[in-house]
Amino acid sequence: MSKKTARLSQRMYLLRLLVKRNIKNQYYRSFIGVLWTVLNPLLNMIVMAFVFSALFGRHTDGLDYPIYILSGNIIFGIMRSSTSSSLGCLVGQSDMLQKTKVPIEIFPTANVFSALVTFGFSFIALLLVAGFRALPIFGGPYFYFSWKIVLIIIILPAVTVFSLGISYFLSALYVFFRDIKHIYGVILTLWTYLTPLFYSVEALKSELVSKAMVFNPMYHYVEGFRELLRGDIPQIMLSFSTTQPSILAMYGFAAVSLVLGWLFLKAMKNKIAANL
């Protein structure tokens, strides 16, 4: 029993080292270092807000448009950065993995946690923007803080688990098919546009889109987060008649993703070892 806990703590240590390395590498040697994780989403938001506010700015259901964009992007970013970095993570470590018995799932897991850390920094950026927009200047306030923002801890585990599943799946698949890197890039772009990051579902005024949106897992995470920012709480149950984020859907998608990804990785483990 104590042997097991010792091994577990060793794995946790390795995981921590890997996450640290990832974060360090992300902004290695850049002038202001980790500050980029805060600045990056901010600058992105400014560009997007500038470009799209005339088009979609008035249909955000009471949420300030810059915050609308920023909130969507940073939640989506957890999934985007963890899955795209997980693609090549096993192949990139192949020298090590050919010779050492190490639980390979630790590498995609580390990527997901790194993305979560990055999210933490971006969340600071969001709070800064929100604080700024809550000030009574330039005709404001445009944003009102609600205590419900802390309920993001309901959403984060779900989107983390969802990203984990995809990351497991992709890291394993990439060992066999190296060209999925390009395919996944396209899928990710498509997914970005299919999720209401800079537009809102209502603004499109399309019955079909509204109906189909509930099948997009990312919609629930992104829009659920925005509900909290608005001071509402996402409903528990999933409804197909109205386009509403639901907590059940969040965890449902997460569970399905994790189970499928995990099973795939487990089933392929020996083949991965042979193919690396």
Partner: protein
């Protein structure tokens, strides 16, 4: 070889490994789809190892020889527990540390010290164990203050030193060496060989994959893998003699280029570490 059973650190029994291999390596989705349409996606059952058995005892140094594609690498993966054999088993009584090829598993942006931690943690060591070994590793590598510089500023010799120092300093029972060492300059090379000899004295077990006769320095025993079988297992001089004879005689051997024998005679310590990959 059935004497003193508790001395066995590595037990390989009837290991058989079968692969479902596509006739030509398919490693992209595009290729898979195109071939599926053209209907030349032939799968072939490929038996890489056919009932390999051997024991390795504590303190023994064993050379694993055989021509490219004989199944050595697969066998090593099974021995290290990465790959599960189709049938049979490989049991390890103790930890295995692999000596990786140059700079493998290192992160270029991280410092030498950070890489020691990362590398050793991947090898399965806890923070405490690594902390205790740091002075020894740093000292042995002779890197001095370079240990605080990013790895990518290192020369290849320095990289090799670091890798070697990590591998020999961690307390493991079995050291896995792929091709005999070519580490750093002559002075460091000497030091490495001295260290290996010292470790051997201490009872560390070596498993060395090699094509060169240089392994004779450590190994008294050699296992010759040929066509997925143990062709010969015994005294290294005899096995090497038969191996060399077979390699030079058999010019029309299947799956071997006619010029293949040239690959093995004088692979002195200066040979590149990744010699397994070269197809002469």
């Amino acid at each position: 070889m059935e004497d003193n059973r508790q001395d066995v650190v590595l037990e390989v029994r009837d290991v058989t490994m079968k692969f479902n291999k596509y006739e030509t390596g398919v490693n992209s989705l595009k290729e898979l789809v195109v071939r599926a349409f053209k209907k030349n996606l032939k799968k072939r059952k490929f038996e890489c190892l056919k009932g390999v058995s051997f024991d390795v005892h504590r303190g023994e140094a064993v050379a694993l020889i055989g021509r490219n594609g004989a199944g050595k690498s697969t066998l090593l993966k099974i021995v290290s527990g990465i790959l599960k054999p189709t049938s049979g088993y490989a049991k390890r009584y103790g930890r295995i540390t692999p000596l990786l090829r140059l700079g493998a598993g290192f992160d270029g942006n991280a410092t030498g010290l950070e890489n020691i931690y990362l590398n050793a943690a991947i090898l399965g060591y806890t923070k405490k164990e690594i902390d205790a070994k740091i002075p020894e590793i740093v000292e042995f590598s002779e890197l001095g203050d370079f240990i605080y510089s990013p790895i990518k500023t290192y020369s290849s010799g320095m990289l090799a030193r670091l890798g070697f120092s990590i591998a020999v300093s961690m307390d493991s029972e079995i050291l896995l060496i792929d091709e005999i060492l070519a580490v750093g300059d002559i002075a460091f090379n000497k030091k490495c060989h001295a260290k290996l000899a010292e470790l051997q004295q201490k009872g560390l077990t070596f498993l060395i994959v090699s094509h060169g006769e240089a392994v004779k320095r450590y190994c008294k025993r050699a296992i010759w893998i040929d066509g997925g079988l143990v062709r010969e297992d015994g005294d290294i001089t005899t096995v090497f003699k038969h191996y060399t004879e077979a390699m030079t005689k058999k010019t029309a051997a299947p799956a071997t280029a006619p010029a293949a024998p040239a690959a093995q005679p004088q692979a002195k310590p200066a040979a590149p570490a990744a010699a397994d990959a070269n197809k002469k």
